[in-house]
Amino acid sequence: MIWNKKIECASRDEMAAIQSERLLSTVKRIYHNIPSYRAKMQEKGILPGDIKSVENLKDLPFTNKTDLRDNYPFGMFTVPMSEIVRLHASSGTTGKPTVVGYTRNDLQMWAEVVTRSLCMAGVHKNDIVQVAYGYGLFTGGLGLHYGTENLGATVIPISGGNTKKQIQLMQDFGSSVIACTPSYALFLSEALQEMGIDPESLNLRVGIFGAEPWSENMRKEIEAKLKIKAIDIYGLSEIVGPGVSCECTHQAGMHVNEDHFIPEIIDPENLQPVQPGEIGELVFSTVSKEGIPILRYRTRDLTRLIYDKCECGRTLVRMEKCMGRSDDMLIIRGVNVFPSQIESVLLEMSETEPHYLLIVERQGTLDILKIMVEVQEQFFSDEVRELEALRKKIRNNIQSTLGISVDVKLVEPKTIERTAGKAKRVIDNRKI
């Protein structure tokens, strides 16, 4: 089923007309309400009147995560707080969290795009949807929740964790859809196996998986182990949360709800648009949001866009699974980790700059982050317990900063490769 045929199957011209009209009003709204973005436009010599259609999108300045942080908490809002009915925020592992405010209309729009996504995934109103994404400031749980209700399906708002209960409710309530992170889906399948429960005995049919990178191989594994169709959903809190784009049952790229979020692909080096179909950094402009509209937000996710009509009949542009990041951010067990954060933890512990290397591995379904730290003169003690204490201290400090546990390995000085250019700080051995 296609939830909003008029939009999802519109011709490219019709879509461009909708986007242009919405873009124009969004540019005006932002220009008049957000001083920092107005200054950026003025610096480029652009006035709202210069933006005539979606063709002019490329002339506008970018928005970065730092813009949101610099304006923490509400500086990017374009409506008074009296119109904001909900706040969500990122985890804030890299400093101040990024805060996003939704008006009543924003929440409706969000529910609409999630409903479209569920329909793309083959979910219908008779389904029972178990939402095992976290509820709270994180957008996953509540995003899927209101989309499911809007569709008219039944929602089980169980939130994340509590695996035994998840499985019990699957059995007792006959959940037909599970929404969670792909790694948790694998974890669930292992738990089922340990408990001796045949997935065929459950009513599960579809899984809606997002919030972390995952591969085609992982999809195959989840589909085989849980006996379901695994659908990829994409979103980021700065734009709207889940529902920015989602795969249809053909699983051939995620349809972007581009009447609300206009995607572009740029070269992350020179910031120019790439040729159609080429890989580059994904950039989004929201054109219907009231609370916190954003122009040309650099997601740092690398992907490409496919404009062909999909077999499902939708004309909405598709984005491929993200192939990596244009910055060095790692996603470890759902947590955003920048090597610079680990660096600053290490720097706080000593006068001298330590050399380090991050190695990410996937053991079973779990991401393991190993940190190799060089033992400099000032760290070195000839007593094992003191070196062990140092290792423990590094591990604890990183854990309290990042919120994830890591392995710390002490290595000899000068054994971590030095490069003249950008230091290679990360080796990602995960087969994603």
Partner: protein, 142 residues
């Protein structure tokens, strides 16, 4: 006597110990004793050498993490009960030992390398118990 022990940080990977001994050999430094304290990830090589300062210098030049630590060398008779006797004295005197190792090069004596929490205290205890350790006509302290 008190001497300087040289400690080297080593990752657990093959060939590293060999590199250290090669560097010392090239610098014509003799190794009298050594021990390795190891964990699953790394080891600490502790050495008693003919020239600790020079050993430190050449190892640092080769980018090893090195440090020197003062240790006490005690000499005991090479016969049953002498280590036990030594430890009893130290323990009763309240000297806490971080680690120790020993070697026996001569027929009649053994050398114990002791890293006490307090060098001063350890020496005092050993000095004041000298008489208990007499073997043949000799000194037990090196």
């Amino acid at each position: 006597m008190i001497t300087k022990q040289v400690s080297v940080f080593l990752e657990n990977k093959s060939g590293r110990l060999n590199e250290v001994t090669q560097i010392l050999s090239d610098a014509e430094i003799n190794i009298s004793a050594f021990t390795i304290a190891d964990t699953s990830d790394f080891g600490i090589l502790r050495l008693i050498v003919s020239d600790p300062e020079k050993a430190c210098e050449v190892l640092k030049q080769n980018q090893f993490s090195v440090k020197t630590t003062e240790v006490v060398l005690a000499k005991t008779p090479n016969q049953p009960g002498s280590l036990s006797k030594l430890l009893k004295v130290l323990s009763e005197g309240g000297s806490f030992i971080e680690y120790m190792y020993a070697f026996s090069m001569e027929q009649d004596s053994a050398t114990i390398v002791i890293r006490p929490a307090s060098i001063k205290k350890c020496m005092e205890i050993l000095q004041s118990n000298k008489d208990n350790f007499l073997f043949q006509e000799g000194e037990f302290l090196l």
